[in-house]
């Protein structure tokens, strides 16, 4: 930092601190000069020390080597200006000025005149408060509680059950814990959105942080479909108490922790799976690379009524949402192989950039994996984390072939739980399955094995995965459904 920059920065701080109003500073300097002339003692006790203070604080060398390092980290250099006694100096000068006048009437006139002058040059706190650039009004407002918090916050806090975790907009969170400190609060910038809420991100955050209640500003919520899919229900009683400002969603209560996999035969004999947890949250997984993917999606949509964002497929960039949903919903998910040469990277990056900072980093990593799968093989990582879950033993260099034919777009994965598991091989080709068997061996062990298409080497996979239950979707009746719990 050179001295021109230093000086510019210091100037900016001053401008920021006085808000462009230099009249007051001018009055202060006049007051200081007046005291200097008027009183020999105050010259020594007030004026000289203040001049030294100003020289010390408003000093480019000191700024560069001391203040910048001590106080600039938080950008609070302006706090040093507190040392300069603006108000006492001006008040002392007024009193001194009055002391030289003999006539009491004149004293009154001068006192009134000087105070009015200061008032005109200053800025009234109670009528023109500066709300960080937005001037006007008073900094105080009326509330009906001694905590001096918004009455809405007190209402919300009184409705929170002990020991529950809450997701609430940031501004409200600041106050909520001042009323009820034991509340576990989670917030995100996403909830303070000026326009519409990013419901997908809110649902993800709620799931990750195990949130019991979500409180949103009513005017920002346009569609609660995703909240409902994520296991939250509209809490009518609490919402009604809160009135027009807020809306309250509570987590569905469930004692079980089971995962149901529903296997169905879809259009054109291509099967798909619907994964459901005990709160009826679900992801739909189809066979991936097939030319009729959109038709299948539509069929699934008709059958289930889910939004397309939750569908996993090996084909479209939309599928990334579905993958995440599966990953949030069940623990210990190993995605063994998900080829994706046709992924629309631009779309994925747009999705990633919409996330908040913390998640963005994680998603960034997962995106590298997607990229790695297709373009950046040298950067491939064998242990990739997506939302905190390890995707172990994924090796892009070995698994991905250069062949981006339609058969190579299949998705093969294993959903594992403590005692149960499903290995899903989609519509993979026999050659690719062979490669995967070679690659993963014992890791393919599972309780349930799901085949989408008939494979010549299915026996090899059965041998190595040792399933208790084999489901062949291609053999199923059109309306048949198999559930795995």
């Amino acid at each position: 930092m050179n001295y021109t920059d230093v000086f510019t920065e210091m100037q900016q701080y001053i401008r920021y601190w006085v808000n462009g109003n230099y009249f007051f500073v001018f009055i202060f300097l006049i007051a200081l000069a007046f005291i200097f002339v008027k009183s020999k003692e105050k010259r020594k006790t007030i004026v000289f020390p203040v001049i030294i203070l100003i020289m010390l604080i408003y000093n480019p060398i000191m700024y560069k080597y001391v203040w910048y390092h001590l106080i600039n980290e938080e950008k609070v250099y302006w706090r040093l200006f507190w040392c300069i006694p603006f108000v006492p100096v001006i008040a002392a000068a007024i009193a001194e000025l009055i002391s030289i006048l003999n006539d009491v009437r004149l004293k009154i006139v001068v006192l009134i005149f000087t105070l009015v002058l200061v008032a005109i040059c200053g800025n009234s706190l109670y009528t023109n408060y500066d709300f960080y650039g937005d001037r006007g009004g008073t900094p105080f407002y009326k509330v009906n509680n001694f905590y001096k918090l918004d009455d809405n916050i007190v209402s919300i806090a009184n409705l929170i059950n002990d020991g529950t975790s809450i997701m609430i907009p940031e501004d409200e969170m600041f106050q909520l814990r001042q009323y009820k400190a034991e509340t576990k609060v989670y917030t995100s910038d996403l909830l303070n959105s000026d326009s519409t809420l990013n419901m997908l991100s809110i649902c993800r955050s709620a799931y990750k942080n195990n949130i019991d209640d979500i409180i949103l500003r009513k005017n920002l919520l346009q569609d609660d479909t995703m909240l409902k899919e994520c296991g939250y229900v509209y809490n009518q009683n609490k919402s009604e108490i809160l009135g027009e400002s807020y809306i309250w969603y509570s987590k569905k209560q469930s004692n079980s922790n089971t995962l149901t996999v529903e296997c169905k035969k879809g259009f054109n004999n291509i099967g798909y799976m619907i994964l459901k947890d005990s709160l009826d949250r679900f992801a739909i997984i189809d066979g991936g690379g097939n030319s009729n993917i959109n038709i299948i999606h539509n069929e699934i949509l008709e059958n289930s009524g889910v939004v397309q964002d939750w569908i996993i497929s090996g084909m479209t960039s939309k599928s990334i949402y579905g993958v995440y949903h599966a990953l949030w919903s069940w623990e210990d998910v190993n995605l063994i192989h998900m080829t994706g040469v046709n992924y629309d990277i631009d779309n994925i990056e747009r999705f990633v950039s919409s996330e908040d900072d913390n998640e963005s980093t994680e998603l960034e990593q997962s995106c590298k994996w997607y990229r790695g799968a297709s373009w950046f093989r040298d950067d491939a990582d064998n242990n990739i984390k997506v939302l905190g879950l390890d995707l172990v033993n994924f090796n892009t260099i070995k698994v991905i072939s250069d062949n981006d034919s339609i058969e190579d777009l299949s998705m093969v994965f294993r959903l594992g739980s403590k005692e149960n598991g499903v290995l899903y091989v989609g519509d993979i080709t026999s050659d690719r399955l062979e490669e995967i068997i070679q690659e993963y061996g014992d890791q393919l062990k599972t309780k349930n094995l799901v085949f989408l298409t008939e494979l010549s080497n299915a026996g090899d996979l059965e041998k190595i995965s040792q399933p208790q239950n084999i489901i062949t979707l291609y053999d199923m009746q059109d309306d048949e459904m198999i559930s795995i719990n």
């Binding site: 706090r79 108000v87 200061v118």
Partner: protein, 362 residues
């Protein structure tokens, strides 16, 4: 707890105990018999002791109740000793003591005619101005985002017995102190202590009760300063204090000025530094200038420095800057380097806590 008992407890810890300590210290310092200086010095003393006890306990991640009991015990013992001292020397002290009625009478006896009327009017304006500022705090609310840390930390101590080991945003327990600078400036814990003693939730104490006493404290310091600056002339002291109270309303150039902090969020430690402690330092410097042989004033400057560390990181930094500036100026004016070195010595607490903060942060 009954509301009357709560009010009595507030009176005890915010007025009686500080006044008792202040009385002893002012006697020891042979300062003039002033209610304002007793009140201020007593509070400074309470804060300094709290700072000395709390920092090691917070560093060791002790639960809040350890600090609560230890500090309460120390204060009770010191309070008893102070009372004993006052009783033993009651007669001697009593001779010097002047009743409140006499004090008010003395304030105005020297004046007459129009000047006396003017004094009454100015006093009234001053009282109305200060009362208005206090009433804003008492009857209205101001929302400040910094409270999400300062107030919540006190609430966490009050409710969950934790000193800075709960994430102030989420409420989740954490391994280490959530914000490092709180280790050396634990003002929130002091308010949590007050809240426990008077059995009032910290948020109410911060937003409704404390401002009354802190605003009064701020103007007491201004009064003391004016009284010194204008050689005990009450007329000009009133003009000075009234002018400060009026000008404060208009020194709201941005939200960052000391007056805005003083009038809008006085419960926060940094606002106390800006609005009360900096004028207090000026008062102490003036005393040093006038009576530079008064060793006890250097000692009071020393404990003021400790209590500024309690209030805020800004307090740790600003008091040495001021000590050095005034020290240099006065040493040259008086041609006495001992003034500078005495004031430099009073910076030791700032250096000490500053180093602790830097080391801990690393």
């Amino acid at each position: 707890m009954n509301i009357i008992i709560k009010c009595l407890m507030i009176l005890a810890i915010m007025v009686i105990i500080p006044m008792t300590f202040g009385d002893n210290l002012c006697q020891l310092a042979k300062w003039e018999d002033s209610l304002a200086s007793k009140y201020i010095i007593g509070n400074i003393f309470l804060w300094a002791i709290f700072q000395l006890l709390s920092v090691p306990m917070i560093y060791l991640k002790m639960p809040f109740h350890n600090l609560l009991y230890t500090y309460s015990l120390v204060i009770i013992v010191l309070f008893i000793l102070s009372l004993v001292w006052l009783i033993i020397f009651y007669k001697r002290n009593n001779e010097k003591k002047i009743s409140l009625k006499k004090r008010v009478y003395n304030l105005f006896k020297a004046s007459s005619g129009l000047r006396k009327i003017m004094m009454w009017i100015l006093s009234l304006i001053m009282i109305i101005s200060i009362a208005f500022q206090i009433s804003q705090y008492v009857f209205l609310a101001h929302r400040d985002n910094d409270d999400s840390r300062f107030v919540v930390n006190a609430c966490d101590a009050y409710e969950q017995d934790a000193m800075y080991t709960i994430n102030y945003k989420s409420g989740e327990p954490e391994e280490n102190i959530t914000v490092e600078r709180d280790l050396t400036s634990p003002w929130s814990m002091y308010v949590a202590w007050q809240a426990k003693v008077v059995h009032i939730y910290p948020t109410i104490l911060f937003h409704t009760v404390l401002p009354i006493f802190l605003i009064l404290m701020g103007y007491s310091v201004i009064w003391m300063l004016g009284y010194k600056y204008f050689k005990r002339d009450i007329f000009y002291t009133i003009i000075f204090t009234m002018s400060v109270s009026i000008i404060n309303n208009f020194f709201n150039l941005s939200v960052y000025t000391s007056s805005t902090f003083f009038l809008v969020r006085i419960w926060q430690g940094k606002a106390i530094v800006a609005g009360i402690m900096i004028p207090l330092l000026m008062y102490l410097y003036y005393r040093i200038y006038r009576h530079n042989d008064e060793i006890i004033t250097y000692f009071i400057l020393f404990i003021t420095n400790i209590s500024m560390c309690l209030l805020s990181g800004a307090g740790i930094l600003l008091s040495p800057i001021m000590n050095v500036s005034y020290g240099i100026s006065y040493a040259f004016s008086k041609k006495k380097m001992s003034i500078f070195f005495g004031m430099l010595l009073a910076c030791v607490p700032s250096v000490f806590y500053g180093v602790i903060y830097i080391v801990y942060r690393r």
